[in-house]
Amino acid sequence: MSKTPPSKGPQGPSRRAVLAGSAALTASLFTPKSLLAQDFPTAEVNTTGLAVTDDTVTVGILHSITGTMAISETGSVQAEKLAISQINAQGGILGRKIEVIQEDGASDWPTFAEKARKLLVNDKVASVMGCWTSASRKAVLPVFEQHNGFLYYPTFYEGLEESPNVIYTGQEATQQIIAGLDWVKETKGANSFYLLGSDYIWPRTSNKIARKHIENFLGGKVVGEDYYPLGHTQFNSVINKIRLKKPDVIYAIVVGGSNVAFYKQLKAAGIDMTAEDPILLTISVTEDEILGIGGENMEGAYACMKYFQSLDNENNLAFVSAFKEMWGDDIVIGDVTQAAYLGPWLWKAAVEKAGSFDVDKVRAASPGIELTTAPEGYVKVHENHHLWSKTRVGLAKLDGQYDVVFETEELVEPDPFPEGYQ
């Protein structure tokens, strides 16, 4: 790995006004630590030439602002900016204000790689919050490993990865899937499942895990499995198949625009999810997606993930109100948005634990970091760079929010390479 020392000392980050109204934020919950920059001389906290000055530190935000993925990634950008502005309002990290350089991945994986390189090589950012799809993460991964960058990745994903240069703040597949399947088996007595997904790696891997769990651990059976191309908008055929096979549960991992088409057509075909015959269980529809689908088309479906906007705890109430204050009252917050919000906080905690911005030291300090202030509740960084977190099941309501109907008692251990599910 090359860690080229800068020739001209730390470069000043380009100052771009991204933080507005941070003073107005309710940050009272997050007890400010009064760390002063002079206690942490720049030469000591930054030995690898990152963009750290005596009073600022620069991080990158790398998401799609344009293209098909912009729909999904907007919430993550907003959450990351909120977290950063709150951290700054508390005095920043090691007495340094966070400055942000934002780059557009444009829903295009080579562009992600290119921008990641720019952030790491030209801008020398101390860490990056970014990526959404697995494809974009896979594209930037070699760049982060080569230039020893540090990425906080917010999306729930298929697992099968454990990079020293990434902290995965969303759930990996087993965390999200198994608890939900157990729940539907125990409380609803579900035995037969119809697996459905958009045709790419996350739904396919997730359904593979789901199938193994259903067949090997729950003693249930999978009566059908189907994949449609990304962006597909005609689901009448699969709805017919479902009606014919009469499964207890439709396990749906449809994403993007297809989601909207699928649920509207499901409802129009007379499958009333509130009747729970069959039950619809999804891991891909957050509150964000419901905005597009429409609450009336989603009502009665169950979603399984770690966070819902309606979570009733102090952390979350403060988070939701701060979020709305910054980004408007109409906004909704989904699982990934919350996970994105954790990124800057986890990084802050790790930097402060390490007493340094150096990536190697931050990495070493990361496992074991705890966050008691997370909106989802208590989380902890695992040795494998994923988070211990609880998994919850929500019931979709007409207003587009979920009622949390189930929550695991303990934190679920992340297991990106699950034995017995390969």
Binding site: P110, A113, E114, A135, L160, D199, I201, K208, P229
Partner: protein, 381 residues
């Protein structure tokens, strides 16, 4: 213009080639840092496609909206070799089946598919980079041109091919890496392609190959075949009734464009470090056409400038105004079509050259002029 010479270049064209060579081999490496140089290296891989399009579309009048298919096929051939080299049993020991690419393992494949096996050999992979796209182009070309499908229909059908291949690659992820593509490529015969030095070397390899392709393109254009292409574009029937089998010429030039695109794709994989279906689809295929159109669809040098300019604009525009760059790109499409149908090359030959010539002529009487100043202007385009 003289008609008695068989020479490859006119004086002007020779100057054009030299200027472009100076820019690519000297100027860019001198002024750009490693990161930006690598970026321009990536842009230059698109130039391969654009040069092919300048022949197919500009000279031959065949607009393909599926060049991404060939770019992708070339790129995937290269990526398959690199992935196999990266997937040694030692590197992949945590898999249930070590020694096969990671994504195959995730998809419960327990052995390498037979059509992957030949890609253990670099020689075969390098041949495949050209042969696979050309074979594909040959099949499409024979089917379409023998039946005299052309123009708009050809464009739409090639576009459908881009859609089909994208869906196939994404759907067959056990064999292709799916939507993530083939990622995490590391070494080429033990040589680490991720280091800064490697990237620099690859830039120059890429540049040399591009000039090889440009020379081939120039040769084709200057040959009788090049003139037949132009003749075909204007009066296809006349060419046919002059005794030429028009379809075979179209097939040839389409295959040549596919070969160029394949080489470009392979160089893309080497420089960027992965290959993914997003480079195969409709959107990149159409963008490649715009590189060619911006450069001036007839000009092979223009195609290179077009690829550089549009991509550079895309990168810098999206750095400065991420939320607005689609307006810029869309506007560029429209402006080129409406205002500068001959692109940069047109601006050069219609606006700039005449002025320089005039200037030169005016000064010729007084002082012996040095036309070197003109060359810098082209670099600024």
């Amino acid at each position: 213009m003289t008609f008695s010479k068989n020479s490859l270049f006119t004086r002007q064209e020779l100057i054009g080639f030299i200027v472009l060579a100076a820019i690519i081999f000297l100027l860019l490496p001198a002024v750009l840092d490693n990161f930006r140089l690598n970026l321009f290296g990536k842009y230059l891989t698109y130039a391969f496609v654009a040069v092919g399009l300048a022949l197919c579309w500009g000279a031959g009048g065949i607009l393909s909206l599926g060049q991404g298919v060939f770019f992708g096929l070339g790129g995937y051939c290269m990526a398959m070799f690199l992935k196999l080299e990266a997937s040694t049993p030692e590197n992949t020991s945590i898999q249930s089946t070590p020694g096969i690419p990671d994504f195959m393992d995730w998809n419960q494949l327990t052995e390498l598919p037979f059509w992957w096996v030949p890609f253990h050999s670099l020689t075969i992979a390098l041949i495949a980079v050209v042969i696979v796209p050309v074979t594909f182009a040959l099949i499409i070309g024979v089917a379409m041109f023998r039946r005299r499908v052309g123009g708009v229909y050809f464009a739409i059908i090639t576009q459908a091919f881009a859609a089909i291949l994208t869906i196939l690659i994404i759907g067959q992820q056990g064999f292709t890496g799916g939507v993530n593509g083939i990622t995490d490529l590391r070494t080429l015969k033990g040589w680490d392609i991720r280091t800064d030095e490697a990237k620099e070397v690859l830039y120059f390899v890429n540049a040399f190959l591009l000039f090889g392709v440009l020379l081939i393109a120039q040769f084709v254009r200057k040959s009788k075949l090049g003139r037949i292409l132009i003749a075909m574009r204007d009066q296809e029937d006349r060419v046919r009734f002059s005794g030429y089998d028009v379809a075979s010429f179209k097939i040839f030039i389409f295959c040549l464009g596919a070969a160029f695109a394949g080489i470009g794709g392979a160089m893309f994989t080497l420089q960027v470090g992965f290959m993914s279906p997003t480079l195969v689809g409709i959107v990149p295929s159409i963008e490649m056409v715009i590189f060619c159109a911006v450069g001036g669809r007839l000009s092979i040098l223009g195609a290179v400038y077009g690829a550089l300019l549009v991509n550079w604009a895309k990168t810098s525009f999206s750095e400065s105004f991420p939320e607005l760059w689609l307006f810029g790109l869309g506007g560029l499409f429209i402006a080129v079509v409406m205002l500068f149908p001959n692109g940069l090359a047109g601006i050069w030959t219609e606006q700039i050259m005449p002025r320089i010539t005039k200037l030169w002529a005016a000064r010729a009487g007084a002082v012996a002029p040095i036309p070197a100043t003109s060359t810098e202007e082209e670099g600024a385009i």
